[in-house]
């Protein structure tokens, strides 16, 4: 981007990732076995990971927009993470669920898994890139076909 960024933007992203990744390691979410133990009802600890994280973000997302106007490093207005609902949320969520249930790993935890030394997780990361590419290729083709169809109307 030609737009100049605040010099602390990239360092702050790194520090946020560092804390995030440390938490994933500490909570054992970087270990597929522990996630599978949750999904197979042998250890319900994962609920505390998701719950603990959502409580912290919930408090911040509720308070920060009332206390401050704009984020210091980007000048952006504070908002919440709201995405539109459509069929894709259910279809994609179900496909993700099958993959998560089969492997015990999700994207953030896969990156963290590399950090704890789990080189075997490269199989999962390779799979994720293949999957992201397949859906992106398909959706790009469909979008351009639709664009051509409407432009010839």
């Amino acid at each position: 981007m030609t737009q100049k960024r605040h010099p602390l933007f990239i360092p702050l992203i790194f520090v946020g990732g560092l804390i995030f990744g440390f938490g994933l390691g500490f909570s054992h979410m970087a270990r597929p076995e522990v996630v599978l133990n949750f999904l197979q009802f042998e250890d319900f600890g994962l609920l505390f990971v998701m719950g603990g994280a959502a409580v912290v973000t919930g408090i911040a997302f509720a308070l920060v927009p009332r206390l401050f106007d704009r984020a210091p490093l980007t000048g952006d207005i504070y908002g919440r993470r709201l995405k539109s609902f459509d069929r894709n949320v259910l279809i994609g969520g179900a496909i993700f669920g099958v993959g998560w249930g089969l492997s015990g790993i999700c994207p953030g935890a896969a990156y963290a898994s590399l950090g704890v030394g789990n080189v075997t997780i490269l199989w999962a990361l390779a799979g994720m890139f293949v999957g992201a590419y397949l859906q992106g290729y398909w959706r790009s083709q469909r979008a351009s076909t639709n664009a051509r169809a409407t432009s010839t109307d």
């Binding site: 054992h28 490093l73 504070y78 704890v116």
Partner: protein, 187 residues
């Protein structure tokens, strides 16, 4: 007098949470804190799965990936931060150099040693990781988010879309993992 509940409750908690809850709760709070640090500084609600598509924009000119060109550099930094943060955990708690009553080490997978640092390897079979990974890559991108985007930032935003997304992938994942277990696939 010891009531029946007092005898029963520790056993129940032991069976629901055999590794205790503190490592999960503390880890979860830190995951949330990491997301909040980025949010406070930048206003961005960071998710982990967009990295997959934004990074593909470096090597593919498909329009679906090119829409992420503006954010692809910081998403790489976010992912490198996650890897580095997990490595800091590996050299401290995982290696036993630092310990705490809040941390339970656990016995999953295999550990190996490199230069005095305890590293960890999964026992889960590569075909499960690869095939599962493909579905995770497709599903998170079509479904507009993963466990961090929907599960942490979206639920924290009280987004109905994210709550429905999380319920969907949780139920399907539980069903899938139960079927996999019933078929005798292990690890």
């Amino acid at each position: 007098m010891v009531t029946e509940l007092e005898l029963f409750a520790p056993a129940l908690s032991e069976s629901l949470f055999p590794a205790g809850i503190s490592r999960y709760a503390v880890g979860g709070l830190l995951v949330g804190l990491g997301a909040v640090v980025i949010y406070l500084g930048t206003g961005i609600s960071a998710g982990a799965s967009t990295f997959l598509e934004s990074t593909l924009s470096y090597v593919s000119d498909q329009s679906r990936f090119q829409r992420y060109v503006a954010s692809r550099d910081w998403r790489v930094v976010f992912t490198l931060g996650i890897i580095a943060g997990a490595f800091v955990y590996a050299v401290t708690f995982q290696s036993g150099v630092v310990s705490s009553g809040l941390y339970e080490s656990g016995a999953t997978g295999q550990v190996y040693d490199v230069g005095g640092i305890t590293l960890w390897l999964t026992d889960v079979q590569p075909w499960r990781l690869f095939l599962g990974g493909i579905l995770v890559g497709i599903g998170t991108r079509i479904g507009k988010g993963c466990t961090s985007g929907h599960g942490v930032c979206g639920v924290g935003s009280a987004s109905k879309t994210s709550i429905v997304g999380v319920i969907t992938f949780l139920i399907v994942a539980i069903g899938t993992a139960q079927v996999v277990m019933a078929l005798g696939v292990s690890p």
